[in-house]
Subunit: 329 residues, 2 copies
């Protein structure tokens, strides 16, 4: 009967293993967040709107979360897209050296790239339009990918892919695991962010919303192509982020993550809060001079509204155990 006994023992062991696994603490989905009021508010909110039977339950179709990109899920000093613009200007000058003496490019070359943010708004817009239009969508995407393939973040000296905030990647995964759909909302060009959104942030291209150029459809070699025209279709910042959400999603988000910096996310945070469903707004406060930068205190609009409206202010310094992931920096 040895054969039988062995079999029985094996079967017994298999059957009991299913129930005898020692209780283990669930791994912390937000492991890079310090325990504190912000983490508690996030977990409390997500639990209350996603657990069946909860009086606060929100149907999965309405669990819409919108994240700003620059300054919220990776640094915005410098904005990656501005670095891209400057690399495009270099390419343009190689092809057309006269550009070097034409405004607004002349001041850029006379005084150096760091002058860019202090140029008049119209000059910045012209450089933005010149570097972002006149090519097909496909060619633009290729240019963006080429830029990111070699570019390094000037402060951290690593590829931009390694400057994504680890706590925010965990937050995106945590929300998704609880039935939320994740959208990214940028004041930059949609196609710029879409070129890397899946690889860097785990968000598919079609869930990226933002500023876009008008386009024409042209036939070339018997093939229809989308050509980017030198005219903005919509600029997505401040109130403009609300319009972009209305056009692309058609629902008020119930979760918004933005940052304290330029004030660009405060309006979409209000838009979310003023809906009919339970909602949560978090703003990343750039207050960590040692590990990133400290400039959030300049943004009075976001700080004042956060206080008035009860949004969660995330201190990078005290709420985040680490800024970047193990493979970062």
């Amino acid at each position: 009967m040895t054969g039988f006994r062995t079999l029985i023992l094996v079967v017994f062991s298999v059957l009991t293993s299913a129930v005898s696994v020692p209780a283990r603490a669930a791994p912390d989905a937000l492991a890079s967040w310090n325990d504190g009021s912000v983490k508690k508010a996030i977990v409390g909110y997500v639990t209350s709107v996603s657990q069946s039977g909860s009086p606060q339950l929100i149907a999965p179709a309405d669990r819409i979360a919108v994240f700003d990109i620059d300054g919220t899920i990776w640094p915005e000093q410098p904005v990656a897209e501005v670095a891209f613009m400057l690399s495009r200007v270099k390419d343009m000058v190689v092809r057309n050296p006269d550009l070097r003496s034409q405004p607004p490019y002349d001041s850029l070359f006379a005084k150096g790239a760091e002058i860019l943010p202090s140029l008049p708004q119209a000059d910045i817009l012209k450089i933005f339009v010149d570097t972002h239009s006149g090519m097909t969508e496909d060619d633009f995407t290729t240019q963006v990918r080429e830029f990111f393939y070699t570019a390094k973040h000037p402060l951290f000296g690593v590829p931009y892919a390694r400057t994504v905030y680890q706590p925010m990647l965990e937050l995106i995964a945590y929300l998704r695991a609880n039935g939320f759909k994740i959208f990214l909302s940028t004041n930059g060009d949609i196609a710029f962010a879409r070129a890397i959104s899946a690889d860097y942030f785990g968000v598919p291209a079609e869930n990226v919303i933002g500023t876009y150029f008008t386009e024409t459809v042209e036939e070339n070699g018997g093939r229809l192509r989308v050509v980017r025209q030198p005219k903005l279709g919509a600029y997505s910042d401040r109130e403009g982020k609300i319009g972009a959400i209305a056009r692309h999603i058609g629902k008020r988000p119930v979760f918004v993550a933005g940052n304290v910096g330029s004030g660009g996310d405060a309006h979409m945070a209000r838009f979310s809060m003023e809906g009919l469903k339970p909602s949560l707004q978090i703003l990343i406060n750039h207050d960590d001079a040692a590990r990133e930068r400290a400039y959030g205190s300049d943004d009075r609009l976001s700080l004042d509204w956060a206080k008035s409206y009860g949004w969660q202010l995330v201190s990078m310094k005290s709420d985040w155990k680490r800024i970047f992931g193990a493979n970062s920096q």
Copy 2:
């Protein structure tokens, strides 16, 4: 040893039951489609791009399917949104009786609603803009839902929800089961289609793309609201459908379903075909006077391109076993 033997028998029976289920034919996911070249092409394409190991495999992120709405997943004679426009005009006249004598509404009231399609394009556009703007997004959505709550299809005499084509619902489900993401592309107003897309077609609001109005963000009673302005932001038909896909999805679809009728879907079918990945285009041909309508032969552009480019022409008469589901009509 009886106990042991019984246990062994039970265990044996449990273990073998996992492999001894008699082979059953898989239920036909496209049960409302007749066997024929179109069904064969659809199943062949979907299998070849979604089965792992296939040389034609397309990554799930790129399995983007775009369906037109009117005439493709439900009838377009009349277009539901035109019926909605006319119901809105009636409401407007109740509030403002003078409208009855003002162009273009005067001809509508003198000659009857059926005159609408033959009015000059500018008049139709004016009625479209008047009935679709000047209110908040939320109020517009409420008006659309109210319309569908009571309206009946004039040809079939049933609520519009029951005029959805059963074969197309099966096709949407079949594609989704094989990892495709489904988008709807309408030449009508995005918000109109979004109000019913989840309930009627099983497609969430954020996956609807189409024509939209410009909007402003206004504060009212301390609450930010999106107000629809009387100016189109983009009109999404013919080439315009390609622009809408570029803005909203940012990828060439690999599967497009449109219809033979107004020619509005032919451009997006070409856009899909001219991508770098294996793709399939189907056009629903309205050739079934007995069960629906027969007017597809008027649309030379779609028919000619379908022939030149090898798209699948779906004959409603011979490719579809039934037009509507069991609960329809």
